[in-house]
Every structure is written in C-alpha cells, then in structure tokens.
C-alpha cells in the first residue's frame, strides 16, 4: 500500500495553512455581505469543517482504490454527489446553529449555488491531486520492484552458472580420479562415469521443471558417491526416506544445492567425521524434507552457502507464493534446513 501524502511534513503544513486561510476568508466574505461576525465565523467553521472531513475521506479512499484512466468521469460525478450531500447537511446545520439565518433565510438560500460551486471545485481538486499522488507513488514502487526483480534474476543466473561449473568440486574430483588410476583403475573408471552422469544432469535440468523426489534422490546419490570417494571415511550420510515421498513432485535442483551446502558446511566447518542427515516425510499434504549437518557455532558459514539457502527460499516463494516453506534450525552442534513442498497436483 502506498504512503499517504500526509506522511510528508510539508504537505501537512500546506494543507493546514490552506484551510485556515480559507476559513478566515469565508468568514470575512460573509461579514462583508452583511452578516454579524459571530454568525459568519460559526458558518465558516461548520461548512468548511465538513468539507475537510469529506476531503480526508476522499483521499483515504483513493489510497486503497485508485481510479483507472477511463473512470475519471465517474470520479467527477462522485465529487458532485458529495458536494450536493454536503450542501444539504450544511443548510440543515446552519439553520439550527446560526441565529442570523432565522431572521433572514433568503441570505442562506441565495448563497447555496455559490457554496455548491466552490465545494465541488475543491473536492475536484483534491480528487485530482490524490489521484496524481497515488499514481506517482505506485509507479515509483513498480520501478523499485522491477529493479529488484532484475537484480535477483541476474544473481540467480550467476549462481546457476557457478553451480554448474563448481570448479572446486570438479578439479578435486579429477584429482581423485588421477590418484585412483594408478592404484584402483576399476574405481577410477566408475568415478569417471558418476562424474559424467552428475555433470550431464546439472546441464540438462531446467530451473522450473518438476521431477519426482525419487529422481532427485538418484541424482543426489551420484553426487554423494563422488564426495564419499573424495573425503573417504570423514563423510557419512544417514537417509530416512518415507515410501510415500518418492512419487512426490518437486522443482528440480532444489535438494542438491542444500545438500551441497550441508556437506561444505559440515566438512569445512568441523574436523573429524561428519554425518549428513536427510529425512523425508509426507505430513499434512506436504512433502517435508530435512537436511542436517553438524555445525560449530564458532565458525562462520563458508562463503556462498547463504546464497544457496536464499535462492531456495526465493524459488519456493516464486513457485508457491508462500514464505513459510523454508525453516532453519540452528542448535548448539547441528544445523538443520527444513523445506516443505505442497502437493502440486492438488
């Protein structure tokens, strides 16, 4: 929702000065045409006080409901309607409060057309000013949003590139293969195959393509096999996957970056053996997946891991329009990321 023009101090001051001057002006004018001072002042305060209230109401309405380009005629008609209602209310109130009008009712009756014209003019102006204001702030907001979206998509593209290349992972894997060739050529051959399948998978997948959870798991296993060859006994995984979750549809390349984060975080943030946990359940028509890694609270997140998590959050928001799908639990010695995928077919 855009901010009201009243949020600007200068506007508030101008608005108040205008109305004070206008109220004084009308009182002087009425006195000039032969009304006693007390009656002129009461008249001016009542009629203009009501007009201010209507103005505020109009401005507030425009804040929530901005007229389209082809609706300006109806806005004009609404202003006229308000002016007429205001006029009758004024007439009734003035007859009740101002003694002068009891003795000379003609004075009030003859001033009505002038009052109507001025009232309508002011309401029209206010309507125009607020329409312009809110149009302008909406436009400004749109521009900011557009710039944000552009920046985000650029970041995502860069991240995707980095994800695809993963130079550190790639060169270290090649180094492991190089070592295996001399000692265990069979295993070297197997790892070449796994690495190729993994890289092919990264290149083929589209960002918003849906795949089953079991497909994603197969892909993940390739990755884990390679990492286990690299890190040997240090890397252990514990998987606890419910049968029902296997057929669930999820966006591709969602789990793997989180798992990669967990491994990096676990292996470079602590020494000794590292157990990465993966748990999947179907709860309340949602697939609930938890990725767990050990964590040393003294260590910072390795560079890059924050972005992986944010991009997963962002992608789930864009796909499902919900902000509550990713949760991070940090405890004394473990770091858990939980994400939930709604039933896409439902």
């Amino acid at each position: 929702m855009p901010a009201s023009p009243f949020s600007i101090l200068r506007f508030r001051i101008l608005f108040s000065i205008f109305w004070c001057a206008f109220i004084a002006n009308q009182a002087v004018l009425l006195h000039w045409f032969g009304m006693p001072w007390d009656g002129a002042i009461i008249d001016s305060l009542i009629t203009n006080g009501l007009l201010v209230l209507i103005c505020l109401m109009l401005m507030n309405t425009f804040r929530y409901y901005l007229p389209k380009r082809d609706q300006f005629l109806s806005v004009f008609a609404i202003c006229a309607g308000f002016a007429i209602a205001w006029l009758f209310l004024c007439q009734w109130l003035l007859n009740l409060t101002v003694k002068f009008y009891e003795t000379s009712p003609d004075f009030l009756r003859r001033s009505l057309p002038i009052r109507f014209t001025i009232g309508q003019l002011i309401l029209g102006c206010i309507a125009m000013v607020s329409a312009l204001w809110y149009n302008w702030s909406e436009q400004k907001e749109n521009e900011i949003r557009k710039a944000d979206a552009e920046k985000l998509s650029k970041d995502a593209e860069l991240f995707k590139l980095r994800q695809q290349l993963q130079p550190h992972f790639l060169f270290n894997s090649l180094n492991s293969i190089n070592a295996l060739i001399g000692m265990k050529p069979e295993e070297a051959r197997k790892m070449v195959q796994q690495l190729s399948d993994f890289l092919r998978g990264t290149m083929r997948k589209e960002e918003n393509q849906l795949i089953t959870f079991s497909e994603e798991l197969e892909y993940l296993k390739l990755y884990l096999e390679i990492e286990k060859v690299r890190f040997g006994y240090r890397l252990k995984t514990e998987m606890d996957i419910e049968e029902a979750s296997l057929t669930w549809k999820i966006p591709s390349l969602l789990l793997q970056p989180l798992m990669e984060n967990a491994i990096k975080f676990g292996l470079y943030g602590t020494t000794g053996e590292v157990t990465i946990g993966l748990q999947a359940r179907v709860v309340d028509k949602h697939l609930v997946v938890a990725v767990m890694n050990p964590f040393d609270p003294d260590m910072q997140m390795p560079p890059g891991t924050g972005f992986g998590l944010n991009s997963v959050k962002r992608r789930l928001y864009l796909l499902f329009g919900r902000n509550d799908l990713v949760e991070v639990n940090k405890s004394q010695n473990s770091f858990i990321v939980i994400f939930r995928i709604p039933d896409i077919n439902a």
Partner: protein
C-alpha cells in the same frame, strides 16, 4: 633422508603425492595430516624439510595454518581452485601445483625446491605470501591464533579491541586476550574499516562495542566499551571515529 609432511583433507590427494614421491628416493614422508590442526603439531614435532599443503581445509585453511608456525618450513602449495590463493602465489612468484597435476609437473616443483635451498629468501617470500593471502574475504572474517598448544578461531565480530604490544598485537575478546605476531597496520588493512577503527597509534577498536565517547584531558578522548573498558582516542582517531559513526 629429507623429511616430508603432506597436509590435505582428501585421502586420495595425499595418495597421489605419495605415489609421485616414490621416484624421489631421498625423500621420506614422515606424516600425513587431515587438517591444519594436525599440520601445526606435525610440523613442530618433525621439523620437516618440505611440506605439501592444500589450501581449502576444515576450519582453518593452509595459509592460516602457516601463520601459526613461528618458522614455517619450505612449502609446495597444491590447490584445485582458489582465485585468491592463485593471485597470492602469482604475486610472490611462489611455485604451486594445480590439481590435478602429473608426475612431470610435480618433479619440476621438487627440483625448484631443492635448488632453492637458500631458506632465508623463501622464508621472506612465505611471509609476504601470507600477508597477501590474508586479504581474501574468507580470512578477513576471522582471526586464527594459538593459545598455548590450542588453536583458537576468533570470529571478527567477537573482537572487542586490538592493542599493540611490542612485536605482537593483543586481541581482546570477552574470553580474555590472545597474542598474534602481526603489526597494527596489518590488522588495519585486513579488517573492515567500517567496523574497526584505529582510534590511537596503539589501539584498533570495534565500533559496535562502543557505548559512548568521553572527553579526556585537553585534546584527547576515551571510547567507553560496553564492558566498561576505556580505550584511548587520539585527535586523528577521534576524527576517524566521528566519520564512521556518522556524527
């Protein structure tokens, strides 16, 4: 026999180095290490003639490990991919191996090392290299120190202030202070200038810890930290503090 230590967190990466070393009969691997913590201990214990050192390792990287050793031995670095490390190597013309590497390239590095047995020169090189490497974003987020036989990793936001102490810098934290064999200007360069301000020739203060700045004697001030500690502020330091705090 000359003594070799291999420090790498990937077992196969250590294996390939050992395999390439088989050709060099006069070199003996005395220990293999999984991480920098084991590395520091092993180097102190064996005083090796040469160390093969990976950069990206658990908790502390290869550079941070070397910083903890008073007289670092000659090192051949091996890394898969690390922009900052490679920049640092190139800046100081130090030989490094890019994984994966072959026997030929490995032999060349060994040959270079045995020719360059003028250790004085290589030690100076190592110091310069560590200075450059510490400017990398990962390393400017934490300070690695040795306290007794333990290695302590201090996240920079836990640092209250730094104080000059002869050839060392005292790093004050909530848990007491730690010494690091570096200069004040080193820390001034490495730490984020918006968070750490050199308030005085001998002090660098974490601005997030300051609760107020009081006048002190005629031209000087003191910064009072949350814990109540008073840090001297010189006239030029006061100017810098005012700028950073937006006063």
């Amino acid at each position: 026999m000359r003594k070799i230590i291999i420090i790498d967190d990937e077992p196969l990466a250590r294996l390939i180095v050992k395999e390439y070393l088989q050709k060099h009969k006069d070199l003996e691997v005395v220990q293999e290490c999984n991480d920098g913590f084991e590395g520091v201990k092993a180097i102190q214990q064996h005083q090796p003639d040469l160390v093969f050192l990976d950069i990206q390792m658990p908790k502390i990287n290869g550079f941070e490990m070397l910083e903890l050793i008073e007289q670092p031995p000659p090192v051949i670095f091996a890394t898969a991919f690390d922009e900052y490390a490679i920049k640092a190597f190139e800046a100081h013309a130090i030989d490094y191996l890019l994984k994966p590497f072959n026997q030929e390239r490995f032999d060349k590095a060994i040959q270079k090392w045995s020719e360059q047995n003028n250790t004085k020169q290589s030690e100076k090189n190592t110091q310069d290299l560590l200075e450059t490497a510490s400017l990398s974003p990962a390393q400017s987020q934490r300070i690695v120190v040795k306290s007794g036989s333990k290695i302590k990793i201090i996240p920079v936001h836990d640092v209250l202030y730094l104080e000059a102490a002869d050839d060392y810098v005292k790093i004050h934290t909530k848990e007491g202070y730690f010494l690091k064999n570096k200069t004040m200007s080193h820390f001034e360069q490495v730490l984020d200038g918006l968070q750490f301000v050199r308030s005085h020739r001998s002090y660098i203060v974490n601005v997030q810890q300051i609760t107020r700045i009081d006048p002190y004697e005629k031209d000087n001030h003191v910064a009072v930290l949350k814990a109540g500690t008073q840090i001297p502020v010189s006239r030029s330091g006061y100017g810098k503090l005012k700028e950073v705090l937006g006063l």
